[in-house]
Amino acid sequence: MATITLKLNNKSHTIDADPKMPLLWAIRDLVGLTGTKYGCGIAQCGACTVHLEGKPVRSCSIPVLVAANKNVTTIEGLSSENSDVVQRAWILEQVPQCGYCQSGQIMAASALLKSKPNPSDKDIDMAMQGHICRCGTYPRIRKAIKKAAQLMAQK
């Protein structure tokens, strides 16, 4: 066990954890933020995606120690009142069905749009192919990413 400081959504949390515990479980069970989801535990589904220093990572496959003292952003940190452009686009396009995969999808889309404000279909495929949606919301995810790009351009 080790005492670890996590910087989650600009807030510091000191936790006592097995340093090998995946960041996912530290965020969910120890800090208590449940927007980040468990889907596979082996970096196959993307449900657990968070930003580590601005880059999308699979929190199920990163030991919590690796994230210590670094900036981690979860879905709750994107914006809690849905003011973020990706969240707005997701609402406009009515993307979620069950909604379980959507935190991960939105975090991935948000990282994509930061590096490519006007992504092509290929860019979208590349950035989103690691994310499973069992409800099959893929057509709307694609539309919502394009919508978010439009909204960003209008700003």
């Binding site: 120890l30 468990y38 099959g136």
Partner: protein, 731 residues
């Protein structure tokens, strides 16, 4: 006891809806026979001998609360139930609050969210409920103004007097309206006048599903709650001989290790639970747990053996379900005939949210929270096992991260309850993805032997299907194994039974220890592949256009759907190479399939092309759904898109296989899912008519796969008769 239960329910209801002041609370009452229905006031519901179904309430602020008695697993009941009531009540959706109801079959009727039944099972009741409240409010306002009720109307949460334009808010009227007897007869709105129904209104649960606030089962926490994972027998019916937890107990955070049972179709299955202060510690503790299993009492199949057995079984005499004429004789003496065998795989539900459940058993009661499709079933099951009356077993629904049939099952809540009871603490049982994928129950795989005859005139002379596979109803101890399976025809259009002179559907059930259960669209998810592929084979034999071939056997409602499908997909003008670069040696193929499932008819056309490397690409899918009366076209569209993509996975990506009595595919690295880049363009159309409401969440799944394989046949001449297949490997 009856009265106690109702009083308690009433108290619960007021507690959860947080009403302000006096409220008008209406429910649907059923007579004991279940045949009559009346709108009743909550107060009268307590004192007379009627059961009360879904409730609406209006408080003195004009706020409307509706109890959703069904679960929300993505299919949209959270939106469509209030959308129906708000229409007849004449309130805008912003004025409506919706809460989930706890499991209570005595109060709400069936709460099992299955069979695409939320709307089709209750829409007329819900509309009448809204209309009754509206009538009572209008009458109250009219009385207060001293005018005739017919001179007033309701709009946007207010009653308005036509002549003077005077207005009164529902909140001002509700206390008085609540004293009226609900009307015996109500007039429902003409669909032409709908303002909310039929509109693609945004879902009320979307905002909390894009910012992490929606609470799924796995997100639900209680103070002092512990976390458990369970090592369950990797072969389906293994019993625990002994276990060694000496290493497990050394893992920091591990609190308890205990044997636990799971109720699987009334059979007790065994496991060893590791309970810890967090999920990860429990998983770590389980890794070093050693369990000896006794697997001697049942067969350890592999997939080849299961399918070899099914192929044998279809040759024998089936238990007949539905027959007409004499298919054997017709086939024997026919000139033009076709015979084919189709095979479908076992599948895992693999909801994105793995199974989980929170239970808290205390000395005098048991409370459960989780992603649950059948809260009333679970309540019944736990009451039976714990010998508790229903009011002591409270089953609460969270949002479900997918359900697809798996979460209607009672095993996982039962297991959580047993652990909590034993350790005397609230506990969350978490199934890892590997548990979720390997323990089952699974969608059963099937083998179909089809024999058909084409007449001189190019019609179907005879249609015979023998099915082999596991019958989901035969798993409980003491089940009658000679009973026919009434799902043998699921997926087949009812219309064909009126026009095919000789038909026969029957099954020879396979006996296997693999647990099986409903999977989105149930038997139709596998039957349709056989039926609609075989119809295509018959159309080829008859040398007829596949749409015309179907059309000539079907009545008007089907014909309208076929006409629509033909128009939107530009079927008649479909040409090779259309829209593709001339230099490509690629061609295109078109396939169609039409199926019926949970009272809705869906036709789909798939267009495919082939690239220079021989890979098949799905260019486009057109879907036309006739679900009769419907509520929200955008939710329907989403359900059709999702159904098609789920079918695409089962057709071309994944299957569960077995080796040595264990499921082989354990996670998404081997059980491959369709991804965003695999998703074709999907165009959706909904038929407008006033037929009874049909299901929406499942019926678009069955036709996709046969439409795809029929299109591949059209393009390549290769008939695919076994699923799954790879789009990359068609010669």
């Amino acid at each position: 006891m009856e009265t106690t239960d109702r009083n308690l329910s009433r108290r619960n209801f007021i507690k959860i809806s947080g009403l302000t002041g006096t409220a008008l609370t209406l429910g649907i009452g059923f007579s004991a026979s279940g045949k009559d229905m009346a709108i009743v006031r909550a107060s009268s519901a307590e004192t007379t001998s009627i059961e009360v179904n879904a409730w609406i309430s209006i408080d003195t602020q004009g706020k409307v609360t509706i109890v959703n008695h069904r679960s929300e697993m993505g299919q949209g009941s959270f939106q469509s139930v209030p959308q129906m009531i708000a229409e007849e009540l004449e309130v805008s959706l912003d004025q409506v609050n919706i809460v989930f109801a706890p499991g209570n079959g005595r109060k709400y009727g069936s709460q099992v969210t299955g069979g695409s039944s939320t709307i089709r099972g209750s829409y007329q009741k819900l509309l009448r409920l809204g209309a009754s409240a509206r009538h009572m409010l209008v009458e109250t306002a009219a009385k207060r103004w001293g005018v005739a009720a017919g001179d007033c109307y309701a709009e946007n949460g207010e009653v308005i007097h036509k002549a003077s334009g005077k207005k009164l808010n529902y909140g001002d009227l509700v206390a008085e309206a609540a004293k009226l007897e609900p009307p015996k007869e109500v007039t429902l709105k003409n669909p032409k006048d709908y303002k909310i129904i039929r509109k693609p209104l945004p879902r009320k649960d979307t905002p909390i599903k894009v910012n992490g606030k929606a609470i799924f089962g796995l997100d639900f926490k209680l103070p002092g709650m512990l976390f458990a994972v369970v090592e369950r027998s990797p072969r389906f019916q293994g019993k625990v001989v002994k276990f060694d937890d000496s290493e497990t107990r050394k893992v920091p955070g591990v609190k308890f290790v205990l044997k636990v049972n799971r109720d699987e179709f009334d059979n007790m299955r065994e496991g060893v639970a590791v309970v810890a202060t967090n999920t990860w510690a429990a998983i770590q503790g389980r890794k070093v747990l050693k369990v000896d299993w006794d697997d001697s009492a049942f067969l350890h199949h592999n997939s080849e053996e299961l399918y070899a057995k099914m192929r044998e079984l279809v040759k024998g005499d089936p238990i007949s379900f539905r027959t007409m004429g004499n298919t054997a004789k017709t086939f024997a003496k026919a000139e033009k005939k076709v015979e084919a065998t189709y095979e479908t795989p076992y599948e895992s539900h693999s909801c994105m949210e793995p199974l989980n459940c929170v239970a808290n058993v205390t000395d005098d009661k048991c409370e459960i929270w989780g992603p649950i499709q059948g809260p009333d079933w679970i309540q019944q099951n736990i009451c039976g096992h714990l010998k508790l009356p229903p009011e002591k077993v409270i089953v609460n629904m969270t949002f479900l991260g997918g359900g697809f049939g798996r979460k209607a099952f009672t095993d996982y809540p039962y297991e959580a309850v047993m652990i909590s009871k034993e350790i005397k603490a609230p506990v969350q049982v978490v199934w890892t993805r590997e548990d979720d994928m390997t323990i089952g129950p699974f969608r059963p795989g099937m083998v179909y032997q089809c024999k058909g005859v084409v007449t001189e005139g190019g019609r179907i002379g005879s249609f015979e299907t023998k099915i082999s596979g596991q019958n989901m109803d035969l798993q409980n101890p003491g089940a009658d194994k000679s009973a026919y399976n009434s799902s043998d025809t699921e997926g087949f259009l009812e219309g064909y039974f009126n026009s095919i002179p000789h038909y026969s559907f029957g099954d020879s059930p396979l006996d296997s220890p693999v647990p099986v259960m409903w999977w989105r669209s149930v038997y139709a998810s596998t039957n349709a592949f056989a039926f609609e592929s075989f119809l295509d084979e018959l159309a080829v034999k008859a040398e007829k256009d596949p749409l015309d071939f179907r059309r000539q056997h079907l009545g008007e409602r089907y014909q309208l759907l076929i006409d629509k499908l033909e128009t939107v997909s530009n079927w008649k003008a479909r040409k090779r190479n259309e829209g593709l670069p001339a230099e490509a040696s690629a061609k295109v193929g078109y396939g169609v399939a039409i199926t019926e499932c949970f009272s809705s008819i869906v036709g789909e056309v798939v267009k495919v092309s082939k690239d220079s490397e021989g890979k098949i690409k799905i260019e486009k899918v057109w879907a036309v759904m006739d679900c009769g009366w419907y509520v929200n076209p955008d939710i329907i569209k989403a359900q059709i898109e999702g159904s098609i993509i789920m079918a695409l996975g089962a057709a071309t990506k994944h299957e569960t296989t077995f080796n040595d009595g264990k499921a082989v595919e354990r996670n998404f690295d081997s059980y491959k899912m369709p991804r965003i880049q695999d998703t074709p363009e999907i165009e959706v159309h909904i038929m407008d008519n006033e037929e009874k409401a049909g299901g929406v969440g499942e019926p678009a799944l069955p036709p996709f796969t046969p439409a795809l394989t029929n299109a591949i046949f059209d393009l390549t001449g290769k008939r695919i008769r076994k699923l799954p297949f790879s789009l990359d490997a068609i010669e």
